[in-house]
Subunit: 356 residues, 4 copies
């Protein structure tokens, strides 16, 4: 497979380029009889939409979902669900200047090496716009997970060197960054504005919490639940790192510190800490899943940069067009979506095998 499909039993196949007629996704594997809440799906789309926050690109696209198949009288039929969004705000002319130049930090060079051909009008498949359809599929996955009480919530916890100190994911995030720490959110916002004013961009970190977890999801060997999550999250363009539970910090810890003590309280299994991030041996332990993902600064910056062109000449490039100075705020819902897709898939696998 050429890698545009993810998942075994809840299988998601995205298609479309940022400057083609439309983008779409086909979900093969949603069980029949799930109430198809299109309003919820659209609301998730709106969280990712350009212009969803005041910090990003002004490229304003409706991103309105059209359902092509798989839904009948408001319910899923068990057949493939295809959803598309039309590309309405294409400004192809913005990109003609970079047709033969490889933008630093972008996939321009590697696409050309791999395919010999490249849709130069905005990244093609490597455009962040591809993730819109992951959000649509993730919203459908959330509809399935809601039925069993699984809830996913991600937030921005770092922009540049500004870190959130309060990490309470149980309350509503009243800021454009989906940051759990309102005070830090203000500083983060400033950080992004500074980057923008300097014709530059800035990176950040997203943390994701999953509550209401079922124990037993994930497999012992190659398809450990955390390995699948890492695959899913690293497949988001610009993501450069993934860690679960104590993550990279665990390298510094002793076993006696890192092991989560288990106790039975009121007949329920509890963990004193959550360094495991909710997963032991690749299988969910019922505790909240907690992981973090690092995102690099947007490679599209307005500063002049040194690079090369298709004729293998050294040239300078000054990128125009509309670009987010920080991709993190809009990536929050994408992180949630990929998490939902993994969990929906593993939930169906669990149903196949569980014997109780």
């Amino acid at each position: 497979m050429a890698g545009n499909t993810f998942g075994t039993l809840f299988s998601v196949n995205t298609f479309g380029e940022s400057h083609g007629p439309a983008l779409g996704v086909t979900i093969d594997g949603l069980p029949a009889g799930i109430k198809f809440d299109l309003d919820f799906i659209q609301s998730e789309m709106n969280r990712r939409r350009p212009g969803a926050n005041s910090l990003g690109t002004t490229r304003n696209e409706g991103d309105e979902i059209e359902v092509i198949s798989g839904v009948f009288e408001g319910y899923s039929t068990g057949c493939p669900i295809t959803m598309i969004i039309k590309n309405t705000s294409q400004k192809s002319q913005d990109y003609s200047a970079i047709k033969d130049v490889f933008r630093p930090g972008h996939a321009d060079y590697t696409y050309t090496e791999k395919f010999g051909i490249r849709d130069y009008r905005g990244g093609g498949r490597s455009s962040g716009r591809e993730t819109s359809m992951r959000v649509a599929a993730g919203a459908v996955a959330k509809l399935l997970l809601k039925e069993i009480g699984i809830n996913i919530k991600a937030g921005t916890i770092q922009i540049g060197d500004v870190k959130a100190k309060k990490l309470d994911f149980d309350h509503t995030f009243n800021n454009e960054l989906s940051c759990p720490d309102e005070e830090a959110a203000i500083l983060m916002r400033d950080k992004i504005k500074d980057a923008k004013d300097n014709l530059d961009s800035i990176g950040g970190i997203i943390e994701c919490h999953v509550s209401g977890m079922l124990p037993g999801l994930g497999d012992p060997c190659f398809d450990k639940l955390d390995a699948l999550l890492a695959h899913a999250i690293l497949s988001i363009g610009a993501c450069k790192g993934f860690e679960i539970g104590s993550g990279f910090e665990s390298a510094k810890l002793y076993g006696s510190q890192n092991n989560d003590k288990m106790h039975v309280k009121d007949g329920k299994v509890t963990f004193d800490t959550n360094n495991a991030g909710g997963i032991l041996g690749g299988i969910s332990n019922g505790n909240n899943i907690i992981f973090r993902a690092a995102f690099k600064p947007t490679p599209s910056i307005y500063k002049e940069q040194e690079t090369i062109n298709k004729s293998l000449e050294n040239v300078k490039i000054q990128i125009k067009g509309r670009h987010d100075p920080c991709i993190v705020p809009r990536a929050v819902v994408v992180v949630e979506a990929m998490t939902a897709i993994v969990l929906a898939d593993r939930y169906l696998v669990w149903r196949a095998y569980e014997s109780r």
Copy 2:
């Protein structure tokens, strides 16, 4: 699939438990006609073998590879290659005390929740011993990669709070830790001994370098090369984090800092820096691939710990048997093996699609 297979065209399927008759692996997809260098494969096995270094478990297993199929007159036939190692040093009696107790930080609880049944004699499939067969498969993958000049080398760069300062991966590592910094290696060794003396364990970080890379490996969407590597590496038990290139550090950087400038020198494409870690938009750019993986401290420690048992009672546990105070030195070759498996797989996929 129940997750014991990894890879599409170079497909690796491991089987076996630490205390069953044998462990094994089947590789489906090695092209015919590859010289099958069993000595090399065995030498890789020896790098991971218990007792391979003076820091770890004294459990001494031969781990001698038997080839069951797929090799004829010294060459691969294109048919499945199955290799097994027999379990000779089983001390099942060591484990009877923990039969009904869930060890903290282990998969005991989650296996019981998932399967209802658990091979309590040493972790079963969740034993680190499962990774031995990944090493065997990785060695075979290396045989294929060697033909196109791809070379993989991993090393320990952190144990607890001791970090390697010299990160030159071009010379030979003359220490048990495969640490590129000989001075740091001495301190790391002390760190592990301290942990051991305190009946405790300690974590660490492994860095992996891939040289001789072909541009064009990996796919643009879900099967980005870094996403597949993250999947592969996180599927190693005890791994808690993965980062590529500038990784988590990239969160703090500006785009102008993080973008790798490209230049043409002597007709060759070069990158001034390697914050991308050799991968752009999910596709290799020809530069060295560089990533890091965080490993938690071994959950098996000799200190008494609080936990619960199958009857959901709060109990104390004191783990016996032979366990590594630090898994990192032996995990180095496992990291290389999983990397080799991913690259062999993507190389075959590349052969299928490349049109030049």
Copy 3:
């Protein structure tokens, strides 16, 4: 996977219902740089289109292909190609009478048992209209196969008890049935008209020839080339049988009769006969592939039939609407399409592994 995808490296995913907004297909795995001949694809669509012959349904649909993704400046980009056709001639009211009744020979009962929900407006996914998108994907597969000289041609060789006697597939078929025997074609046509006049339907057999074959396609074990073809062809609704080469007749033969003698003539390997149908041990031998597929009579007949309804009552049903009295003539191009998809897929797999 829920079974709406076929193929490993040339992967075809269809979606859509006969009475939804559109039907579509996503092809993941066409190599980049293939000239995308939309006229040819449309001409293949027209061969299957209702009204393509005078014998079938008068339901007249444009079936005009819209390309959503994966094509840039007339060439494939290596990214997913999605094509859709809109449903323009929906007469949903035709179907309201059968909303709660299970039509004999149809999937109505089994869909209800499986999914609990059923799009009763014309079969939904089980409609023959789903095969239109297989034709689109098959046409794309043919574009790839044309590059290596593989040519696929199917024809009707039996309708009811009328059999073609001339089986020369090298000339053009000048009849609506794509029958290689012009005289038999006239009798077949009468047979279908008779069935129609009697408010009934009739079955038939299609034979398929593949010339220009490469030796070495297909795999030795479960993915034998003939096994994949059988899978592909039996996945066409109404197909009830598949045989390759001497097929069911081989049961009556002695080994000395059935073995195809090999000779070298002018330095080329030739087979005296082709009882193997071009495949030995699951792998193509370079000879023409020849197989046959049996199609049952259309289950939709205008005669009154006994059946049951959703309330588990015995009822009678008289089907209305427009239905083909014989599906065979329109299935010819579908058989070709599925064959092309299998061969394109195996050709790419072959490229991955071949070592010469």
Copy 4:
């Protein structure tokens, strides 16, 4: 994948050559907690074993199953089950004469074309001996199916031109051919002996009945249950045709004849006939599944034959060694095994998606 694995959730991976150290199979996906009845598995092996009947090869192999993994204290653990049989009766010297000659009707030529290398000592992977491990896996699948009351029974219904007239599959078959018609069995036996006496071989047909079926297994599109069965059955070497229900005969029928009338009797859904063979629209309807498979005469005959060698010279060959004059009697249990594997797989898929 290189095609040595079959099934999605009940995944079967065979390995090994007829003249290597051992053959084996790994089953990934048997749910935990299934009683592992090794005696039953061995008894199934014995049905296929050379020497199991007086008609075949005298090559006498123990085919004794060794369980390597996945079973603990008599029950499946949910982890991969690997079973092997050692090759004890290898007479490699028998084959040296044919080292460079391509036997007619065999895979010798196509293997050489595909892989460039060939294990000439008896067919390697293309040996009928590979199917022994399918029987082992099929026996495990039967253990799972038994829990839900699904029963599979195949029998020989034709050898050469001798056809069984009684097709009652409800009684025990008291003959070496597993033929439901005791009188025909005697004639079939004579037919095979005649072929053997003439240094020749003969083909035949196997019919398979599945009772106790659950409605709802199979998928609507590419993974129709009959398509998967066709794939599975055609993947058995020497199989040249597959038909379900009325099969090729349906080509001659009118819709009014072929449609199975449905009635409700005593509250239960019944079908007056079973031309569908138990599957409608790719999904089981609860009726018995009935299909037939055609097997060609064994290509290994003792008569002298014309063929070519590796140097592309025309030569004559006289095959020695021990070969079955008719493969059909021993293929009966292989047909059952592949059927069981398909049904076990689809049953697990059904469990994943069913919503009642």
